[in-house]
Each structure stands twice: as structure tokens, then as C-alpha cells.
Symmetry: D2
Subunit: 324 residues, 4 copies
């Protein structure tokens, strides 16, 4: 349960400190841990997840990566720039060095790792200079990258049971929560009950707000950093207590925006990543999966969402694939 | 079966033309097809694949993405360059704008899509100006990217039954085939028999040569484009006839290098991608999975290898995850 | 003089064809030419230019290169993304490998070559598939770059006499021409007369509209591609007849926007680059220089604006330096 | 003069400390200085330099920027990757959206700012955590870039009198100094005497070793970071005492490699940049200019070498142009 003093939104520093203490997983998996809550995703959970493949239908939960994405330049985050090294046009015209009619095309991309559908790695957020497991952020994430908890360590792990909590559909109007709507533990529990599903230890939990459907209809607007529905700061205990392996949403920043505290910025990140060690996904496209779940009433599935093992990265683009 | 005239390695143009005719899948899935042999990977195959998750053990089949990769600059292919937009060092020193002790790190990557563990998309290779399904390559892959068969179309599909054919272990010495070794259908069949496994319609077939293990020990050398074990041109019929969904190897270029024809360059690509419509994976790291398969004698598994849906891309980095 | 039929803005194809004929420099400097009007900038002109250094005062005519630039993503043009490979923060904390107290910082940039203050190379624009000097654009600019007239060929040449025509100050209100204002030869001549300066053979001519000053005050708005003051299509004869070496403006696209023809896009580019062989500069910051010229009444100076010799580039960022 | 104890190459820390004290320019131009020795390059010097334009002949001193450059990946330094956004091939085939026969090509580059011919900015090197003018490096160069002495501040300044000291030609064999050759003040003075030129206050001094000519003939080898001729650590007093504005060489790292101290790395950088505030150029191509100087016996000229004003950059690619 969320204690009342956490709901006092006048003192972010105090609330963060108290919540960090109650939610801390520091040391839980030893001093050398680099996986955080992915430790909850064990082989038994994978067996349970694989058993959920009943029809064999698969769904990509990724937005497309291109210059039409949501980024506006905040903190130098741009949309991906994809360019060609060779083209079919050139090969058709003979502008190439290859024999026997061979032609080909290659390409290049330049992108922030947080530009679109992504995982936040454990080195993405710090609390008062402390990274996951209590480490000194100044030694963990340098200009060479995350030297300790780089996302490459997660490469084989993110495959297991996925659970969709379509809060937009259960609590919102026409499947969408309004911007600024703070999703509480009560909303999440009500949604799970409505779906007849349970999100627990080792699960990868997907929370749909409906905001992405809205931007698909109305344009990006301030999707990147602006007002959005999202998790209330008060859900920290729930994030911690369920012992979930990971959580992802269809919004830019996973927690409600504007943040509930005045003069605050993403306070729930400050708990979830460095203290809980939670793997957080953002900007996932949950709409096609959500439609299918609404149609068949089944909100659990096999989910693989493998980050690219970019050495030292604090995030990774990802194409999560759910199979029902 | 491979007909004798295909094995006449003096006439690449003629051999390619004959093989293209016998192996063509053009029109098989309609004029608008953008998936090629991924069409073989259906829901039934996914159910079959998911049933292979017995222990719940998961394996990443990806090399790490960093500047220590194999690229040497050929056709402007470089290794990935990953840089930080923010660091823990800066946050520890107070060099940041955030309140209440929040700190964070972001990062950026610039890389060729074919730089490391990857899928070749259907727009990656052409035969005499023709792309997959007989389309005019000049209209399909322009400097804007692959306008028709971009890899984004494959986003939800690449999850199914994986089969490992560890030819290095069965045919080679100490688990490795020498550079220049041409793997024939006979070697592949013998390997499957030795493993007690069958690779067929809709499967994602992984062929391990052992070359990556060698480079791990001896250094990259000419891994990128140089001599390598790999599939013989004569395996085209096997690639086509098995109706596999995809094939990946642990080498730079999937086929044997030097190529079997004189004055040739990657002739099997010229059949496999534009004519068969085969999804090809390269530079996969199959070693940990292969060790496990050798230990438990089980060479089939659930495999998810979801490309990033980069709009118009002719390839994608990928972190394939196998679960047994 | 501009003939009346050129001023008939209902037929862009016809007007472009007629103007191309009258303004063509094809073959003027031989079939192998890669310099276009830079051929007019000879050693005598450099001696004349150097003699204009009277005070020794120098001015940069470049905008700053950063994410706060004008680009909005049109045709994948983004603002520059500059990231650090090493930082002082890391060195102060000891996060580095160097001995005896040495520290250092390195950096990386990713940018379109047309993102900010720039030269358009001769391969930047084509007319009906013809590049500068009548060459086949399909063979000149491939996905490997400009194989013939890459901007590297201009590396030693762009240093000579500069002339500022501050049309904004002479013709406009408060130093600025309104968006959509078409600058004609008459305006240019009147400005030169008002300044007491003459722009002729071999000169680098700078035309200030004042639009950049406006965006500095009011924000970028649609600076990139939107309405702007600029040269009228009817100035083609003047561009050709003066035998200038190069021309640069303080706007995104050098010619008036919206373009004077209906359903047209940058028709003067289609004459100036492929037919005249004119080196065109865009997004230059002429304001500090213009203030100085207004103060001392001297509108001519030594100007060096050396493109980076990027092999095969069709443009280059540049920091032009004027010295009076 | 170089004191004997500086030539004691067993104690880099001590030698650096002593030399830093004797060569320091901290505070010389006030606490807010962002220009270092560029302060010596004043208007009088520019007048003097411009008077050296006698023939009007111009020379680019830049290597070409492309994937064939010298970088090998050390500290994530790669060669530039230049790709096309549009091509002539596509326009010739009609693969574009433009009216009336207009076609065009755009391009993109991704490169380290220290990849080829470049200036090192004042934020490039620190001594025991101190940047130029005694500032705390941890506050000056963060992951956002150089917040104080970014190279954009130098944008209008680097135009003046250039002097070539062709030490390779005067001291070396066949115009080249061998790798590992330490150029002392005596060599520099003898070269100036042989040339009949004087390098002094406010000059931009170019020191040619001949190494680039050698790599042009023999291949890059270890040009990037390997053995090279270059300035001896003992030239620190000369760099300081001449009051030159800037110095550039044709080598990767300006000082002799291997460095003269054991277990040292670029100790002269540690004096020249943070203590002297010297602008240092590296990888310049001085060969064509040197040939001309040898032919006409004139080793002084007008030189413009304007860095791109990349906000917060600690270096910049540059195309220096000399005019005689």
C-alpha cells in the first residue's frame, strides 16, 4: 500500500528519500549485480510464458524508427536519420563494382538510443549520484558509457511472460486516459481484475494509457516530454512489491506528466531505476496487441524484447514481439 | 538435388541464371508480397516452436555492438560509434539541470545496419536490376531507402522454431571448419542426422561454421570479407526446397569465401535474396547455444530475432534470443 | 537585362529552358571542368582582394552549428548533433587511462552538410537529369557521392574579393526585406550604387536580405523552406552576366520563397548551379559584417570561405571569414 | 632557452610542472579569456599578413575527409562517414518529388572532430584537471561540450600571417624527418635561418616534418598515434616565448612519438594547450605549399584557417587556405 506521506506532493526530496528506503533492492542480488529486477525472470517464468502461446499470433510492439518520430531536440534527442550507402537505382544504372549482375544496397543509421521504442538501461537514471545497487554514478557511467551495468548484460534475459494492463480501455474514455492522468495502484488493480489477469513476480508488465493512439490521430504535439498520462509516484511500492521483471508503457516517460510534485522532474524514475533496479520501457506501441486482447479476452502472452547489446549503453531501441 | 551443371564453376552468369529459374519464388505469395520466405513461418509453426521451451534457458545470439567489431571500412562499413549525451560523472559533479537529486544519462549511436549481428532485408541484394519478387530495383531501393520491402514489414514475424546445424562440430576439426570450406547439402544433411534434428518448412535455420570462435581466439583478421567457411553455391536448391523461413550463420557473408566461381562475388546471395526471398542472418554468435545443444543433444528451440523496424531499411541489427 | 518572357510566371518549364540556354556556361572551361564560376576567381582577383585589407578587422559569417539551428527534418535534414567522446568531468574524476596528470576531451559530430551556413557544391542541383557542364547526373552523383564535381575540388580556390550588397538595408524597412520579397536586378543595382561598390567578374557576392536578423529576433519559424525574401528568378541573367565567382545570402534558399512560378520549387537553383556553374552559399550570417560596412561605408573586403574537402560531397559547412 | 632539467626525461610529472610554471599564460588576457594565444593575432598582424599576397596563388592545406583517412578506432576515432540523402541516379530515374525537371542531391556526414586536418580547441587537453586559464576542467568540458572555451569563440579570428618552417626539407633526408625524430628549438631556428624567415608574435607557424609525404607513399601505417617526427618537449619555451598565435604540423600529434619521457603520453600537449593557451593544428597537408615555398624561396603568406563554429566543440575540422 501507498502510505499517506508519500502522497504529500510538496516535498519531492523527502518523498523520494522515504520511498527509496522502502523500495530499495540494493544488495538483493549481491554487490556485483548488473540485472536488477531481471533477476526475477527465471527459467520457470519462461516455461510459464511459453505455455501462453496458444494460437501462434505474433505482434510487434515497436513504433517505426524514422525521421517522423516524436523527438524535438530536447537534450539533443533527435529522430533517427537513416541513409543509404548503396541503392537499387545505382545498381540498375551500373554505378557499382560488382560482377555477374550482382547488385546490392547497404545503409547506415544515426540515432539516440532513447529516440523511439526503447528500454532504459540500469545506468539511465541516478539518485543523488547513486546508480543501481548503490554504486557511484560518477564511476559507472562515464563518457565511455556504462562501464558496469551496460545494457549488453541484459542481452539474453528479456524473454518471458508478458501481461497487458490496458488502463486506457478500462479506466479511460474511448480507450484513452487524458494527459496529466496519474495512474494509481487502485487503477492498475482494477484493470487487472477487469482483464482477469494477474501481474506478478518475474512478469514483463505493459501498461497502456492510450496516449500513443491519440498522437497517431492528432499528431505528436508534445508527446516528447509534454503532458501525458502515466504512473503516479505513489505506484513505487507496487512496482517494487509485485517483483515484476520489467514495465513498459506507450508514453514518452512512463510516469504522469506534469509530475505530481511541483518543481519536479520524473521522480518515479529516480526510485524505479536506481533503487528498484527496474527495467523500464517507453514509447512502446501497444495498440494492435491491446485490440487483440480485447477481442479474445486474453491479456497474457509470451514476450521477447531483447535489447541490442551495445556495449556500455544506458538504453536500447527494441522491437518487442508478443506471441499469443 | 544439385544438378551437375550448377557445379560447373566457370560460368557464374549462366549458373546464376539457371539456378534463379529453378529456385524462384517470384509471385508465390502474390505481386504485393513484402515478406518472402517469412510467409512460411505461420502460426502453426509458432505453436510448434513454443512447445520447444522445456527448461526455460535463454541464449543471446548477438555479438556486442561496439568499436571492437570486425568492420574495416569496406564500402563505408564501420564499426558502431556509441557516444554519451550525459554521464554519471557530470551528474555527480552537478553539471546538469535537474531538481531533487535526479541524474541521468543518455546516449547516441551511429552505425551501418550491416555492421554486426544482423538480418539482410529483402532490398539488400539484386540480380541484374531485379529485387525480390521481380521488382525493378531502381524503383524499390532509392536513396530514400527501400520503399517497398523495407525491413519494417518484418517487425512482427521473426519468432518461431529455430534449428541449429553445427556443421563446424560435426564435420570440422575441434568444432571449426577451415576458411574456404564450402558447405554442401550433403554436409548439412549429415549434420542434421548427427544431431537428430530436421530443418524444414517455416524454420529459422542456424548454420554454425566455428569461424567466429576462431576469430575470438585469433583476432578478426579478414573476418569482414575475407576467406571464410560458408554455404556452397550448390546449396541454393536446398535453401529453396526446404522452404525454411530464414537462415543465419556465424560468418560475415553466409556463403563460402573465396567464392567458388572465379571472378565472382557472393553469387549465392544473388539467388537467395532476390529469387528465393530468403531472410539471411550474418555474424551471429552461435557458440554458447551450440555448447548447450552439444551438452543436452537438443538442437531445436524457440527463437525470436526481431529486426528493428527502421523504415526503409535493407538490414537491421538484431539480438536473436533462443529459448530451450 | 531580363527579357519579358522570362517574367511570365505561368510556364516554369519554358522559362527555365529559355533561361538555361541564355545563361549556359557549359563547355566554357572545357569538358573536364569541376569548378564552374570559381574559374573567374583568378590570381589577379586575389591580389585585388588582398589589397582591401586596410584595418585588419575580421568577421565570421557563420551561424553556430548546434541543435538550436533552423532545421525541422525536411528531406531528413536535421540540426547537427555534437557529442563528446571524453570530458573534463571524467578526467577530473580520474575516469581515464592517461599518465602524469594528462587529461583530454574529444568529440564527434553528425550533421547534414546543408544543415547551416554552407556552400552548395556543383553536384547539388540538376536540370532534367543534367548536372553542371551538361553531364549525366545519374553518373555524377551516385550513392557514393559526387564522383566528378565533389566539393573537394574547390578546396584551395574560395579566397578572393568579397562584396556585400545589403539589399535589406537599402531597399527594406529597418534593414529587412519582408518574406516573399523578390529581389530583382534593379534592386541589386540600386544597392550597389547606394554602397558605392561594384560586383563583377570573379567576385564573391554577398546579398543580405535581413531575414536572419528577423529570425534571431522572432525565432526560426519557417526559416527552413518557408517564405523568405530572396533573388527573383529574373536575376538569372545578372548572375550569369556579372561573371561573379560565387554568391551567398542570409536565407535558407537564396531565391525568393514562395517561388514566383506557381507549382514551382527553387527554379533559380535549376539555372544557377547546373547551367551557370555558380557556387551558392546559404544561411550565412552577414549581420555583423553589414553593421561594420554601414559604419565605415566600405562594402568590399577580403573573403575566405573554404569548404571542407569532403570527398564527393555536394555541399559543405563553412565558416567564411571576411577581413577589412 | 630550454633549461637542462627539462631535458631530464626520467621525471615527466616534475618536468611538466616546472615547464607549466615557466610557460604559463594564465591570466594574461584576463579571467574570462577564451582565445589564448589567438590574442596575439591582432589587426596589425592581419595587415602584415595580407601584404604578403603577391602572386595571388592559393593552396589548401587540408587532407581530404573520407573513409580512406588515417584513423584506426583509437578512443573511438573513426574516419568520416559521408552518405547521400538524394542522388543524381534517383533524380534521373524520376525517384523524387520535384516539379519542372528539378533534381538535387543532399548529403550527411558523421565524423570525429579530430579525425583529419583539424584544430585542437582550448578544451581539448587538461593538466591535472585544469583547463586553459586555470579553470576547473570538470566544469568546462562536460558531456554537453566545452561550456566556456568552445571553438565557436575562435570563429572570426584565425586569419593572419602564416610562416612555414620546413624542417623536413632543411634537416631531414629527401625532405623527410624519420619517425621518432625530436625537433628542437635549434632545428627550428636553423630552418628559419635557412628559409630567411622569422616566426614571431601573432604568427601562425606551420612545421613540416615530411611524415605525411611518407605515408602518402607508403600507406598510413601507424600514422594515427604511432611513431612520428615532431616537436620535442623541450620546445615548450619556444612555443611560449615566440608569442605565436598558433602552430600546426603535418603529423597526427604535433609532438615527437614515441614521447621522450618513458611512460608518457603527449606531455607537450599538457603544456601547450592548458598553460600556453596555444591553438594547435594537426594532420595538415603542407606538401604543395612547401614545394611552392622551396621554388620561390618565400616562406611567409596570408593564411586563413577558420574552424567551424560548432558550439562547445573542443576541436574542428578545417580547410586552411594559404595565399602567396
Amino acid at each position: 500500500m501507498t502510505s499517506p506521506d508519500r502522497a504529500d506532493f510538496t516535498d519531492p526530496v523527502g518523498a523520494i528519500a522515504r520511498t527509496a528506503t522502502s523500495c530499495s533492492n540494493w544488495g538483493r542480488w549481491g554487490a556485483d549485480d548488473v540485472l536488477g529486477t531481471l533477476n526475477f525472470l527465471d527459467e520457470a517464468k519462461r516455461r510459464e510464458g511459453a505455455a501462453l502461446v496458444r494460437r501462434g499470433a505474433s505482434f510487434s510492439l515497436s513504433q517505426r524508427f524514422d525521421t517522423h518520430g516524436p523527438q524535438r531536440g530536447w537534450r539533443r534527442r533527435s529522430n533517427p536519420v537513416h541513409t543509404m550507402l548503396d541503392t537499387g537505382a545505382d545498381f540498375a544504372l551500373g554505378n557499382h563494382p560488382f560482377p555477374h549482375g550482382l547488385g546490392g544496397a547497404d545503409d547506415v543509421i544515426s540515432m539516440p538510443l532513447q529516440c523511439s521504442t526503447q528500454w532504459d538501461g540500469l545506468g539511465h537514471i541516478f539518485d543523488h549520484g547513486k546508480a543501481w545497487n548503490g554504486r557511484d554514478a560518477a564511476r559507472v557511467v562515464t563518457s565511455e558509457g556504462d562501464l558496469v551495468t551496460g545494457i549488453e548484460h541484459m542481452a539474453p534475459h528479456v524473454a518471458g511472460r508478458g501481461v497487458l494492463l490496458d488502463v486506457g480501455r478500462v479506466i479511460g474514455d474511448d480507450g484513452e486516459l487524458p494527459d496529466g492522468f496519474a495512474i494509481t495502484e487502485e487503477h492498475l488493480t482494477a484493470t487487472a481484475v477487469a482483464h482477469g489477469v494477474r501481474a506478478g513476480r518475474g512478469d514483463i508488465v505493459l501498461v497502456r494509457t492510450g496516449q500513443l493512439a491519440r498522437t497517431r490521430r492528432d499528431g505528436w504535439g508534445d508527446y516528447a516530454g509534454g503532458p501525458a498520462p502515466g504512473l503516479s509516484f505513489t505506484t513505487a511500492d507496487w512496482l517494487h512489491g509485485t517483483e515484476m521483471a520489467a514495465l513498459a508503457t506507450d508514453t514518452w516517460g512512463f510516469e504522469v506528466r506534469p509530475n505530481e510534485f511541483e518543481h519536479a522532474f520524473q521522480p518515479l524514475h529516480q526510485i524505479a531505476i536506481p533503487h528498484i533496479g527496474l527495467l523500464i520501457g517507453e514509447m512502446w506501441d501497444l495498440d494492435a496487441l491491446a485490440d487483440d486482447c480485447a477481442a479474445d479476452g486474453v491479456y497474457e502472452f509470451w514476450l521477447t524484447a531483447a535489447p541490442l547489446p551495445i556495449t556500455g549503453a544506458v538504453g536500447s531501441p527494441v522491437n518487442p514481439v508478443a506471441v499469443k
